[in-house]
């Protein structure tokens, strides 16, 4: 259940200068996502910092693993169901659930209710959770309504709209509004910022060549934008884009929107995560 393993007390709130919500702290369950947990924990800490500086009291339900998206997209409804039931229970007590990922938030918001076509009780629970679940930038911009962010960045950024966030959740203006609050950062849009990068989960492995070709087009557009870093909100797509950029010998940085907004763009790795 939603045990408060990492909460901030009410006291910190009154003095919080960054949020327009000074009265009661919003209790937010952080849906870390399995990829962030394993591949880039830094993003999890950045999300945590952002939520706290927005005045939220953040809990990180301990047993959380995977939202079930791999099974769902591979036609394995049963495993998706099992994992969604687990997640629904884990976040049952959280008034808000926030994920630093458009595709995981999209999974909960748009697909969880579909999973329980024939089970009205679970469907209701899934719907309820779906209604409380937010993608990070969507939450910061539209729920917490922040007016400032802790980070700073000197240089040019370009933003890649990841597919599920954009098309399932309507995440488009939110990250841009937040980036505009960053001192020193200039946003330079690339051509085709809404075009898929070719990740698609197992697609990248099953259809390697097509996926590479799509990633190449993305890399070319990133390069043409002249930006110092490409920023996006889904780690899967980051791994795809960064992996392909490096293979092409392109050193453009690939940053998660949470890292940029939190001002935590140092080398990924344990140093940046544990050294706080």
């Amino acid at each position: 259940m939603c045990a408060d393993v990492h909460g901030t007390g009410d006291a910190t709130l009154a003095a919080n200068p960054l949020s327009a919500q000074p009265i009661h702290p919003m209790r937010v369950g952080l849906l870390v996502t399995c990829l962030v947990d394993m591949m880039r924990p830094n993003i999890g800490f950045a999300a945590l910092d952002l939520l706290e500086s927005a005045g939220c009291s953040v809990v990180v339900p301990e047993g959380q693993t995977c939202c079930g998206q791999p099974g769902w997209n591979s036609g394995d409804r049963e495993s998706a169901k099992a994992l969604s039931e687990k997640l629904i229970a884990e976040f049952a007590d959280c008034p808000w659930v926030v994920a630093p990922s458009g595709s995981c938030a999209g999974m909960v918001r748009t697909h969880y209710p579909e999973l329980f076509r024939d089970d009205p009780l679970m469907r209701e629970k899934a719907r309820a959770l779906a209604g409380r679940t937010w993608e990070l930038t969507d939450f910061l911009a539209n729920v917490a309504k922040v007016h400032a962010v802790p980070g700073r960045f000197s240089g040019t950024l370009t933003y890649h709209d990841t597919c599920s966030g954009l098309r399932e959740l309507g995440v488009k203006a939110q990250p841009r509004r937040l980036l505009a609050m960053l001192p020193g950062a200039k946003l330079q849009e690339m051509t085709g910022c809404e075009t898929c990068c070719g990740f698609g989960g197992t697609f990248a492995v099953k259809f390697s060549e097509i996926s590479t070709l799509m990633a190449d087009q993305k890399c070319e557009n990133i390069a043409a934008s002249g930006a110092d870093a490409v920023v996006l909100g889904d780690l899967g797509c980051m791994l795809n884009i960064e992996g392909r950029l490096r293979k092409r010998g392109d050193a453009t940085r690939v940053l998660h929107i949470a890292e940029v907004l939190a001002g935590d763009t140092g080398d990924t790795g344990e140093a940046s995560g544990a050294g706080r």
Binding site: A82, T202, E270
Partner: protein, 478 residues
């Protein structure tokens, strides 16, 4: 047409290795129909266009909900106006019906306007074998008929061809000096086709819609060839799918607003040609004999199933115009009549799940198709449904099934999962080079591809500890 969809991987590899095709596809992606559609939507007003999509969807849903009723009414009205309505259970049956019509009316030459169903039925080959010369008169179809190819796009069949390739084809087949000026080339094609229009004794058309209240068919074209095909020859056959019936002309007016905008970004197509019955006594033109061949071809199997939404399709092509996979491999890779996202659903549905295993998988589920589809078909959801059916029928590789089950089992056991991921991130870290990149992945070799520069990508290595480990350390204090 025999489906080649089982060879999707090989065919897409060929397409990606073909520089001319890649150049043509690239031009299509950047300057193509997607941009024209976006401009048309902006001009119409994006909210108004959303309302229009909703209305179009409702019309198609209403049509499909009582399909049998509308078909019966269509038949009654069409027959009342002197047309003959024939039903074909399969595309092959439709082909045989057309051949029978050719025999009955002693047909020598058939002029055709675009019909995807005639592709499903492999009609051209069958006509030629029966001694009837088929002549495609849509410019794109004409080009690929000269080239001996199949269409690679449902509304721009020759989109994979460059101007140079067309110049060569015209020079070779028309026996005229090679031209590269597009207006001159279209003029030449028009002159070549004119003789065929006048000498054709059968006109074969598709049908964008069939209107139940009047028994009419309608085709939407830009070149005017459709009107010639449906009025000049003494016999006209309209061959189309049974799902194309809509109740009223009023419904049509809504669909005619959204179809051209979605397809080519036009507010209205150059021609909307109606055909209602045979030539009357007072009519100056029109066929003496008019047939509708309405084909099932697997369509009724979808009614009432979780794939029924697909039957709303009005064949605009917007889904493929916006599909990044289509943009990478082109239409021929899909191996049957319908390419792109709609083909990824229709091919397994009509030809068989086993015949097109890769098609529903060859998608990132990015959703670009469903947000432009004028009748709001949830194409990614339907592909997911097909993936589920593949799993249920045991059509996925064992390794994939085991992998998913294993992942799901671990993920349901948080303690073991925590341990396994702790180990995994360390192993991955060890395999990374100084820059933090992994080059070698035994269980997901597709990620890194072969060693070649053009293939695959590196894997940015993990930090070496999981978030949950680091969080626990942070809670314990420095």
């Amino acid at each position: 047409m025999k489906a080649q969809s089982v060879r999707f991987k090989a065919r897409s590899a060929d397409a990606m290795a073909n520089p001319v095709l890649q150049r043509n596809l690239g031009r299509f992606a950047t300057g193509g129909l997607g941009k024209l559609r976006a401009d048309a939507v902006a001009a119409y007003g994006s909210q108004a266009f959303e309302d229009l999509r909703e209305a179009a969807k409702a019309i198609r849903d209403r049509s499909l909900a009582s399909l049998d009723v509308w078909i019966a009414q269509f038949e009654q009205e069409a027959v009342r106006r002197g047309a003959t309505v024939l039903f074909a259970e399969t595309a092959e049956d439709a082909r045989d019906l057309v051949l029978e019509i050719c025999r009955r009316h002693d047909i020598r030459k058939a002029v055709k306007s675009k019909s995807m169903l005639s592709e499903e039925a492999g009609l051209n080959e069958a006509l030629a074998e029966a001694g009837v010369q088929p002549v495609e008169t849509d410019l794109g179809e004409y080009i690929i008929q000269l080239a001996g190819e199949a269409p690679s796009h449902i509304i721009a069949p020759a989109v994979h061809k460059s101007r140079d390739e067309v110049s060569d084809l015209f020079e070779q087949h028309h026996g005229t000096p090679r031209k590269t000026d597009i207006p001159q080339m279209t003029r030449e094609a028009r002159e070549a086709l004119r003789a065929h229009f006048l000498s054709g004794d059968l006109g074969i058309s598709g049908g964008n819609f069939l209107i139940a209240e009047t028994g009419s068919g309608i085709i939407v074209t830009n070149e005017g060839n459709g009107r010639m095909v449906t009025t000049l020859p003494r016999v006209h056959v309209c061959i189309t799918g049974i799902e194309k019936v809509i109740p009223t002309l009023e419904d049509l007016s809504t669909l005619l607003r959204i179809l051209p905008r979605s397809a080519t970004g036009q507010a209205i197509s150059n021609y909307a040609s109606f055909f209602t019955g045979v030539r009357g006594e007072a009519d100056a033109e029109g066929p003496e004999h008019m047939y509708f061949v309405l084909v099932d071809g697997g369509r009724t199997n979808l009614v009432g199933t979780d794939l029924q939404d697909m039957l709303r399709c009005i064949r605009c092509g917007a889904c493929m115009n916006h599909c990044p996979v289509y943009g990478a491999v082109g239409g021929h890779a899909y191996g049957w009549v319908y390419p792109g996202p709609m083909g990824a659903v229709l091919t397994p549905a009509y030809v068989g799940l086993e015949e097109a295993l890769d098609l529903p998988q060859a998608a990132t589920l990015c959703g670009a198709c469903s947000v432009v589809c004028p009748v709001k078909i949830p194409l990614p959801d339907l592909m997911r449904t097909l993936r589920e059916k593949q799993v249920e029928r045991g059509l996925r590789p064992e390794s994939e099934r085991v992998g998913l089950r294993l992942w799901s089992w671990f993920a349901q056991h948080p303690k073991l999962y925590a341990l396994a991921t702790r180990i995994a991130v360390r192993v991955m870290r060890w395999h990374a080079d100084k820059a933090g990149m992994i080059y070698w992945m035994p269980f997901a070799s597709g990620w890194v591809g072969s060693g070649k520069a053009g293939e695959g990508r590196f894997l940015p290595a993990p930090a070496g500890k999981t978030f949950r480990e680091l969080l626990a350390a942070r809670r314990r204090g420095p």
